[in-house]
């Protein structure tokens, strides 16, 4: 789910009480497509393990931080699809590479 302004159709993330920059407060929750494109990615190489962190641009417009599961790294521009997993006892939105069409 993601927030959208009823009057302008603008999607926003993270959840707020108003659209940043313009201030509309007519936000509703709508289903997100779950599709996104990798905007930037890094692999954190820590003593406790190696994992990636990515910024992805949702098809609806907003950008979010996430992790691309199942791979060490993917090229920027890779199409990815959201998946909800459990991490530290809470649901977490991660992404997996979308099979090439």
């Amino acid at each position: 789910m993601i927030q959208r302004s009823r009057s302008t159709g603008t999607h926003i993330f993270y959840p707020r009480i108003a659209v940043p920059g313009t201030g509309e407060q007519d936000l509703e929750w709508v289903a997100a497509s779950g599709l996104a494109t990798v905007y930037a990615i890094t692999v954190n190489r820590a003593r406790d393990g190696t994992y990636n962190l990515a910024l992805v641009d949702l098809d609806e417009g907003p950008r979010m931080m996430t992790r691309i599961d199942g791979v060490e790294i993917v090229p920027i521009g890779t199409r990815v699809r959201a998946r909800i997993v459990e991490a530290d006892g809470a649901p977490l939105v991660v992404f997996v590479p979308e099979p090439a069409a």
Binding site: Y14, Y39, A40, T42, R45, Y51, L53, M64, T66, A87
Partner: protein, 383 residues
């Protein structure tokens, strides 16, 4: 038309303390020692300080703590904390307060014992709730993401990033006060341990202790004090985001706004700047700020620095103290950019002196490429 604040205040005293390793010292002790050194350097007495500007990573109310520790009763104070660029922001507010007559002698100060206290970057930054579940290791995660995007978009290479670290070390080797000395080659950087792709440990700043301070007075008084004044020609800040996920374009910082505003106030063009002190927490920073501050076109920072172009003898003197990469980085490095620019403008930089220097640019960065504050300093001949 000349901006009414241009040249109205000047840095007349600088001081530092414990840069590198200062075991057994608190952040406040280092800050106070630097402050006293700066006040003495200015030829002023402690009680003459009536404006306090301070930010640290360990004090919630730094101006109150400084006033108490030094026994001052400031008429004006400003503890704005926008991370490592806070002190460039303080230059502007100190100049405003001095010009308005709200204070007569402004102290800007900082101190940190992060290396001796824990050996890690100390930060009061609260976790960003929509990033934290993915376990970023900020600040490096944010800067690595920016580097990944810059490489993707403009063909920037790891060797170009490494060139920044090599140039910084070459300058540090000319600065006896720098923490990191010794040879550093492109291959050394490229072969260093990868921390967060594409940044190796050699692409990251030092973790040191250190205190720094400077004193400003109005220009008319500055002329009568012991050292050549470094006049504040222009300054401006800009910031659009807190968390890197909210940075609109990871290849373009808010320096694209702070820079032009500061240049306009100063009446200076990028081509007239012969020393650029750019906050190099990571090698990607230097490329971004060379571009955003008009030293080269967007995307060309990598090719601009190649072939030793920002090293000693290159086309533009950048980070002549050795930078955060090789000189000093106690967590909020912006203070030390100012100290080096003033040292250079006075002609006191020894082997690393930029000859006939009139105008220096100081650019602070804070958070995760979040706050950008640019200042232009000049000698009397730049007025």
């Amino acid at each position: 038309m000349t901006h009414p604040l241009r040249g109205r205040a000047a840095i007349v005293g600088i001081g530092s303390a414990g840069c590198g390793i200062a075991p057994g010292r608190t952040a406040m002790e280092l800050m106070a020692e630097a402050a006293l050194a700066a006040i003495a350097d200015a030829g002023l007495a402690l009680h003459e300080i009536d404006g306090i500007f301070a930010a640290t990573s360990t004090h919630a109310f730094p101006t109150l703590s400084v006033a108490e520790y030094l026994g001052l009763r400031p008429q004006y104070f400003d503890g704005t904390n926008v991370g490592g660029s806070s002190f460039e922001a303080h230059l502007l507010s100190a100049a405003l307060a001095l010009d308005a007559g709200l204070c007569d002698a402004a102290l800007i100060c900082y101190g940190s014992n992060q290396r001796s206290a824990g050996g890690r970057l100390v930060s009061m930054s609260e976790p960003q709730p929509h990033e934290a579940p993915y376990k970023p290791r900020h600040p490096i995660t944010a800067y690595a993401l920016a580097a990944s995007r810059h490489m993707h978009q403009f063909g920037t290479t790891r060797a170009m990033l490494a060139e920044v670290a090599v140039a910084a070390r070459a300058w540090a080797n000319l600065n006896p006060a720098a923490f990191a000395h010794g040879p550093l080659s492109l291959d050394d950087v490229l072969g260093s341990r990868m921390v967060s792709d594409p940044l190796t440990v050699a692409d990251c700043c030092l973790v040191t202790d250190g205190g720094g301070a400077c004193v400003l007075v109005r220009a008319d008084r500055a002329r009568d004090l012991p050292h050549r004044p470094a006049y504040l020609l222009g300054a401006a800040g800009a910031g659009w985001h807190r968390a890197v996920m909210c940075m609109p374009d990871l290849t373009m910082s808010a320096a694209t706004e702070s820079g032009p505003r500061a240049y306009a106030m100063a009446g200076v063009l990028p081509s007239e700047v012969r020393l650029a002190m750019l906050y190099d927490a990571f090698t990607i920073n230097t490329l971004l700020f060379l571009e955003d501050l008009g030293f080269c076109a967007k995307g060309e920072g990598g090719s601009f620095v190649q072939g030793g172009a920002i090293a000693p003898g290159g086309r533009l003197a950048v980070n002549t103290n050795g930078g955060g990469l090789s000189c000093v980085h106690p967590g909020m490095y912006g203070m030390f950019l100012i100290l080096e620019a003033v040292t250079q403008l006075r002609g006191d930089a020894g082997e690393r002196q930029v000859p006939n220097l009139d105008v220096a640019l100081v650019h602070g960065n804070g958070g995760t490429l979040s706050s950008q504050c640019t200042a232009l300093l000049g000698t009397a001949s730049a007025l």
